[in-house]
Symmetry: D2
Subunit: 119 residues, 4 copies
């Protein structure tokens, strides 16, 4: 992950793209890539989506979109000075306190959100 | 990163949430968290966004949203059987071939996209 | 729709918010509201989502999110000088030429997109 | 707007696409189109975005994305049985009560949200 961060940074610097890589702009780019990922999955049933990686056409496309999302998330975190893994770990610990195993068992809830939804 | 992946997986399994964690559902959750991140940055100028982490109110909120985005991306990749870092690296290498340093210098382009935009 | 456009414009002007309502900022706000809409539907099955308006808890929340999305889309189109209905009609006509009834029958495709997906 | 709603519905019915047009799927399609809109604006400054419609290349692309977003929003509202304009009007009235002119003057706030941000 550190290696990827460094390589994405070098990629941007070599092209003199730091000027475009503000957090605001990068968050939009991240959302754009997530939109492309959704577009690959939007007409699939949940069951079809679970098998998407064994589809020889869709599988590589989904993997490529995941790659794009990762690049922009890594770049955004680098520009913000945030450690991605630590930020995720901190939120996961907070979610563990909020959604105890007993109270949350088998009911869908949004990690890190105030609006859990009963399934 | 592997540690975070394992902990998010355990978190979901303990709550019996695997049933909700299809790629389709997780991609929606990822988009929802990216939407919350955008909401923190939407009224800021690009310059203000570059200084957002030194704002004692907004900084922790942005970090928390980055954490949520990371959790769902890590979980989605785990469910799909995709190595996030490798997927990012592969797309970065592809982008390096497409956007050569000479041709792309100082002009904004979307990594991994077919529609680069002149700045 | 024209009445809503005028009222949203007056709302922004009275608060001196035109300065924040650039197309860039409004597109982020639109994406943020769409993210909130996704969050309401993310853990539902497609079948549950089809019945969401008869859920006394979720129904009004979904309607409220649709209202927020509409406000920002209307405002964005107003700021850009785009007639929403005409823009939609033009794209629908284009989609009708691209996806003929014969070729597209019963197979999912993304309106206005280059990557239709076989179901 | 009613005419567009009817035409989008006929478009879907003629192709037997109602089966794919669940609220869940349509919300994903809506988010995908919003992502394409963001991609057109992501590297622009707010000022450049304000002039985007006079760019002979970007202007028509932005208009086309707005058209796609409108189509899916109209279709989603139709499937849910929601009157788009009324839903927007209701939320605008709620926002007017929450953000009074006096309290909100010249400070950015997210319509319909609990987290207004001082500019």
């Amino acid at each position: 992950m550190e290696d990827l961060t460094a390589q994405v940074r070098a990629f941007a610097e070599e092209r003199n793209w730091e000027q475009f890589h503000t957090p605001k702009n990068l968050s939009m780019a991240l959302a754009g890539e997530v939109g492309e990922l959704l577009a690959e999955l939007q007409w699939l049933t949940p069951e079809q989506s679970a098998a998407v990686m064994s589809d020889e056409n869709l599988g590589p496309r989904v993997r490529a979109e995941i790659g794009d999302v990762t690049i922009y998330l890594v770049r955004l975190a680098d520009v913000l000075g945030i450690d991605l893994v630590q930020a995720g770990m901190d939120k996961l610990n907070e979610a563990a306190r909020r959604y105890t195993v007993e109270a949350s068992h088998s009911s869908a809830a949004k990690i890190g959100s105030d609006n859990p939804q009963a399934s």
